[in-house]
């Protein structure tokens, strides 16, 4: 019997900030990083992936976004207008939505220093076709909110990793990449 998910341990990581390291189970723990890159997590072994992350940013009011660029052989793809993302935010009885095009995808947004989390599903990042993704997260504006994203990246490139950055000063947390067996 084959398990549903297998941990995809990065072949290497790089970061700007205080520290980042690969844990014994293959996750990545990071402290006060302005950027964090994972290399060698996407491979021909899997089409689709689940990335589970708990994290926080230093305090500060307003939407502090976490961004992602796909990465191949150690180089981020920052092609202008190649990432498009859609979000919905539900707080109390109000739902808002919008779509943006950028040189990076937004995966998550936080409003305070609480440690929260989000899960991102990646569809086909290693395949030489456009990549789609679906982050599902928790937001703590006014206590608790639903913050969900969907993104596409229109480049038909095979990617083996990704880089996280933030609109805040830094990111702290732990993430693990899982491949869906097939």
């Amino acid at each position: 019997m084959k398990a549903m998910l297998e941990v995809c341990t990065p072949t290497s990581i790089s970061y700007s900030g205080t520290s980042a390291s690969i844990t014994g189970d293959g996750g990545v723990e990071f402290t006060a990083c302005s950027s964090l890159s994972l290399n060698g997590v996407f491979s021909a072994n899997y089409d689709n992936y689940q990335v589970v992350l708990r994290g926080k940013t230093p305090g500060g009011a307003g939407g502090l976004q976490w961004f992602m660029r796909l990465r191949s052989s150690g180089t981020d793809n920052s092609t202008a207008s190649s990432y498009t993302y859609q979000y919905i935010y539900a707080g109390a009885t109000t739902i808002t939505a919008n779509r943006y095009t950028s040189d990076k995808a937004t995966l998550w947004g936080v409003y305070d220093a609480n440690e929260l989390g989000f899960t991102t599903y990646y569809f086909g990042p290693y395949l030489s076709q456009p990549t789609a993704g679906r982050p599902v997260g928790v937001n703590s504006q006014s206590g608790a909110g639903i913050y969900e994203f969907a993104f596409t990246h229109n480049q038909s490139t095979s990617y083996d990793g990704f880089t996280l950055t933030t609109a805040a000063t830094s990111m702290t947390g732990l993430l693990t990449v899982f491949g869906f067996t097939q």
């Binding site: 939505a97 779509r99 086909g124």
Partner: protein, 187 residues
Amino acid sequence: MPTASGILIEPTSIAYTGTSATIGANGSVTFTACSSLSLNGVFTADYDNYLMVARWVGVNAPSAVMKYRLRASGTDASAANYTEQYIIASSTSVSAARGTSQTAIRVANISPGQDQGEIMYLYGPFLSQPTAARNVSVWPYNTTNDPTMMDVANTHSLSTSYDGVTFLCEGAGNNFSGRVTVYGMRQ
């Protein structure tokens, strides 16, 4: 060693209408230009709940809708016993709708030539009780690859035990290509 959360399930057999469909070495199903794809023997008494993960691309599908039907012993449950509730978010628009007396479970819409992904949970399909399903999708809305978010909840009212599903790409001439994998959630 901890017990794995889910187990990949290989269909006992598949059927399709289209160019090709094959079961891979571990049990996932890869298909090309199919208008329908049936997976048999994926739901069993070993698991109550399931996750199906798919990526696919629609072909000749200007306004196709991807759906699936529950299936028992090779026969689809195609009567109007499905109810759906969905949310679509596209740019600044968020809308919702409920459809009753549906003949299949809605997954997402498909735009021509756009790669998309689906996370599909099924609750109790093999049990002799009504089945519930919950789909989370990213669906590129048009040929410019604009992502649209679609969440769907479905129920099927019959208390029948089902062992499979049939995916359908609705609309004349529409078909889809990709890969789907079924997992049983350990219990």
